[in-house]
Homo-oligomer: 110 residues x 3
């Protein structure tokens, strides 16, 4: 038994849930936030039998897409002549999913 | 040292916390939601010494009960004659608790 | 690869995030609550290479401080003569951080 812990973008959380549930995977969702962007994202706990691991990874790969996020590194600043200076936003690539697979010693449904 | 990760129904979260704390277990609670029902539930992280594992499982078993949840698979629909058609709700059994026990390599209290 | 799961006080969550991100650690934050005090705290998931484990533990140790929390074990009670009886608050030491290190079988960035 493995526990798949996967961090995905908020945008993909709903469709990932749908796809996993359609294939009868057990799924628990946590609303989390990323340390760098400080934006809401979602972390899923998916307990799977060892032989289902490849399948759940394919579902995640197919559903969760890499996107650009734009960071404004500082707020707009006004210049002496009254003009607003808009610093260029920084483009950050955010992966579709970050996956950690952890071994489960004991699994019980009570 | 083990980390017990357990998903329980929202209804049982408060009394489970009380019972675990009364027995001096360390408990951290996460508000989560289930993938299938999309309802709020609770996930507990309970770090325990190996020899306490049976005891914490008994507390969870004694406190968290299987219940029926009713799903309306579709919203009410109106018929040509103006009648409202209420499709039969689907009954889903939701277990008292789903438990994953994970080995802890290193445990520190700072 | 290890997953560091660390529970810290809400007060330290922001600066812990800043310090970890400044050192290029990947960080996911969960808003959680403690079983005993029932107060909001924060749980961080930090996936690290084995050789980075000591460094991340030092950052947590340096940033997260033990503090006293005061619990009022019961609400104020009025006496027959109309006086309010304020029971002494109980002082509880809350550690800077509780850390669980878990081995990661498989780590993927999709
Ligand atoms: N110090 C830094 N300097 C420059 N760019 C940086 C950076 N730290 C992160 N980034 C970039 O920002 C994206 C969002 O990171 P965030 O921490 O908000 O959100 C992260 C975090 O919530 C989680 N995550 C990633 N690696 C992790 C790890 N090792 N442990 C725990 N969570 C992780 O997955 C989310 C997406 O991560 P991903 O790597 O795809 O995408 C990252 C990465 O491309
Ligand atoms: N392998 C796993 N990994 C991670 N988390 C897990 C898990 N197995 C269970 N959980 C968590 O425990 C909750 C209760 O699951 P249980 O199997 O008792 O009770 C389930 C089950 O009886 C039923 N169910 C789940 N998936 C189903 C499906 N695809 N078709 C029909 N019934 C389903 O609906 C109940 C509620 O499911 P829901 O997903 O809302 O909520 C789940 C989920 O949050
Ligand atoms: N083994 C474990 N597994 C999972 N999570 C764990 C854990 N040990 C600690 N934690 C998490 O870390 C927080 C701080 O725990 P700490 O032991 O430093 O500080 C604790 C401790 O000094 C004290 N305390 C806890 N349980 C107690 C009890 N039964 N009797 C007296 N004092 C207690 O109250 C403080 C706050 O506890 P609280 O539960 O609100 O919040 C806990 C909990 O969220």
């Amino acid at each position: 038994m493995k526990m798949v812990i996967t961090v995905v973008q908020g945008k993909d959380a709903g469709s990932l849930t749908d796809k996993l549930v359609a294939k009868r995977f057990g799924v628990t969702r946590i609303n989390t936030s990323g340390g760098f962007l400080r934006e809401s994202n979602a972390t899923f706990l998916i307990g799977v039998q060892d032989e289902q691991l490849d399948e759940v990874i394919s579902v995640i790969r197919a559903t969760c897409k890499t996107r650009s996020h734009f960071l404004n590194p500082m707020p707009p600043m006004s210049e002496p002549g009254g003009e607003i200076y808009m610093p260029n936003p920084v483009e950050v690539q955010v992966g579709g999913a970050t996956i950690f697979v952890v071994a489960v010693d004991k699994y019980l449904r009570l």
